[in-house]
């Protein structure tokens, strides 16, 4: 999928949690094309920083031409990004990559951990009312702001925290068997830490339900040519996360 270089004005920029920021950008072309699971490759507003940062799209408002992202400050590049002001212009390349499957019929289970909740949020916003159950996990109650961003039309929203300070104490994967047992889930979508995606794919597999994972790698071009962001194929060889992914059938990649 070829993206576009689109420069947009930052409409809203706010700190949501200890290190998570939400940015709404005016990107009409990207907003029109973007699908859940896709990302934008964001240029840092500093010429000494050459590589873009791949950031999952958390939602769009195509009518208003808006794209919403939630990102974690992990290094000096995302730190600089967090210092940008509403009204500033930001250079984005997108929408890039593959997207999550939203089946015509049947339920979806979305599983998200940490900042990996963002593409699950976008998926939930595109799912039909009552079609999706979402399980999200965070370290503690400081990260549960995510739950308020989800549409009220979900079938169910389950929150877990590592320390039990909100919702269910424990990891997202420990509640998955109870959801799967109901037998109504037809598709699983997961994005989060590697171990979480591996376990989720295993549980989905036990119930014979297809599972899609969204992988993250250090990325270069974003256009499928530099070969920096590769992951291992189960069948041998590599996939490029930026263009063959980031969303893959869990059965096809080494987790």
């Amino acid at each position: 999928m070829t993206g576009m270089v689109e420069k947009g004005i930052i409409i809203r920029h706010e700190k949501m949690g200890p290190d998570i920021w939400r940015m709404v950008i005016s990107l009409p072309l990207t907003a029109k094309k973007a699908k859940p699971g896709q990302f934008i490759h964001v240029k840092i507003n500093d010429n000494s920083r050459l590589l873009r940062r791949p950031i999952s799209i958390a939602g769009t408002a195509p009518g208003k031409g808006l794209v919403e992202i939630l990102y974690r400050v992990v290094g000096s590049g995302t730190q600089l990004m967090s210092e940008m002001k509403e009204g500033d212009t930001i250079d984005c390349l997108g929408p890039l990559g593959t997207s999550f499957t939203i089946p015509e019929e049947g339920e979806i289970l979305g599983v998200g951990g940490g900042v990996g909740i963002a593409p699950i949020l976008f998926t939930a916003r595109r799912a039909k009312p009552g079609q999706m159950t979402v399980v999200i996990g965070g370290r503690n109650k400081d990260e549960v702001f995510w739950k308020d961003l989800f549409p009220k039309t979900l079938k169910q929203l389950i929150v877990t925290t590592d320390d039990g300070s909100y919702g269910i104490k424990g990891f997202t994967v420990s509640v998955l068997p109870d959801v799967m047992k109901q037998g109504t889930v037809r598709q699983v979508a997961v994005c989060g830490p590697g171990i979480m995606m591996k376990k989720t794919a295993e549980i989905a597999g036990e119930y014979g339900v297809p599972c899609e994972v969204s992988l993250e790698r250090r990325m270069g071009c974003g256009t499928g040519t530099c070969m920096a962001c590769v992951c291992d194929r189960k069948a041998g060889g590599h996939y490029k996360v930026c263009s063959d992914g980031p969303v893959f059938d869990a059965a096809e990649v080494v987790l």
């Binding site: 070829t2 270089v5 240029k43 010429n47 000494s48 920083r49 050459l50 590589l51 873009r52 590049g77 250079d91 390349l93 250090r218 990325m219 270069g220 071009c221 974003g222 256009t223 499928g224 040519t225 530099c226 070969m227 920096a228 962001c229 590769v230 060889g237 590599h238």
Partner: protein, 301 residues
């Protein structure tokens, strides 16, 4: 204002060439620009058989630079000839087949396999710092560099461009050696060997520990080497290393490069080449230059 150039017999619409390893096999960029306006495309380095590249993290950002240790992952000559080359034929842009080998003999076989209609020239990579067998091992010893050049020349009728490594004490010795061995042109520089460390974990950032540095961080080194090589050889030169703007491209040409390549700028933005080409044209117009060729090797000292 003339932007067309002729580089070792290849007619190009501009002196700005897409650098190997940053432009895939060209067609990936067809929706980002009019490929017909690109000077030439040097495709990602091709091996006789597919190469799998290095394990672990392959890219890192450093101050004004990019470190990579891809390790020349590529689908091999056969896939290039059967899949990519036919798709490039509908574009009016010269294709330079960048190629690698694990030994001198393999360089020859690869050159022979790539000598087909649709390929305008070969660019011989003897300068990749990220592979153990092959790459830079051939580019740091003038004698071996000459052997590889001669072997490629024996196996092709196409113009041969030899891409030099900056990771040497005296680049002019290697440049002279490949010129004597029959190279039709020289391209320089490939990446400078470097590394990045995560102090928190005390581990290297890159899976291969070391990598090749590119981008504006290496531009002064590249300019110096182009200028030195221009004085040492008579064959044409393609200069590269951190070109991000049209003025950067002009600087390389003034230092002695007949053409230039743009690489890391494409990683930063896929539409960098048409932007830089347009800027070079504007720079020429602003400086009363009627023919871009006229600025080559005009450094005033």
């Amino acid at each position: 204002m003339n932007m067309t150039v002729e580089f070792c017999g290849i007619k190009m619409k501009s002196p700005v060439i897409a650098a190997s390893g940053t432009f895939g096999y060209g067609i990936e960029y067809k929706d980002y620009m009019d490929l017909n306006q690109v000077g030439a495309i040097s495709v990602k380095g091709l091996g006789l058989t597919p190469w799998t590249g290095n394990k672990g993290v392959r890219i890192a950002e450093t101050a004004s630079g990019v470190l990579n240790c891809i390790g020349l992952e590529n689908p091999g000559v056969e896939k290039f000839l059967s899949y990519y080359l036919p798709r490039l034929k509908s574009y009016d842009v010269p294709i330079i087949a960048n190629m690698v080998g694990r030994n001198v003999e393999e360089y020859g076989k690869t050159a022979k396999a790539l000598t087909v209609p649709g390929v305008s020239a070969l660019e011989v990579n003897i300068s990749c710092p990220n592979v153990t067998n092959g790459g830079m091992a051939f580019g740091t010893d003038p004698k071996v560099a000459a052997q590889v050049t001669a072997e490629v020349k024996r196996n092709t009728t196409l113009p041969v461009i030899v891409k030099l490594s900056p990771n040497v004490t005296d680049i002019t010795a290697v440049a002279r050696a490949v010129e004597e061995a029959g190279a039709d042109a020289i391209s320089l520089i490939n990446t400078l060997m470097g590394m990045a460390i995560d102090a928190r974990t005390r581990r290297p950032v890159l899976g291969n520990v070391t990598g090749g540095l590119s981008g504006p961080a290496i531009k002064p080194v590249a300019l110096r080497m182009v200028w030195q090589v221009r004085k040492a050889v008579h064959i044409p030169i393609c200069g590269m290393g951190g070109i991000m703007t049209g003025t950067d491209a002009a600087e390389f040409m003034i230092a002695g490069a007949d053409t230039v390549q743009v690489g890391t700028a494409t990683l930063a933005s896929p539409n960098a080449i048409p932007r830089i080409t347009g800027e070079l044209r504007k720079w020429c117009e602003a400086n009363q230059v009627e023919d871009v060729n006229s600025i080559v090797n005009t450094l005033k000292i």
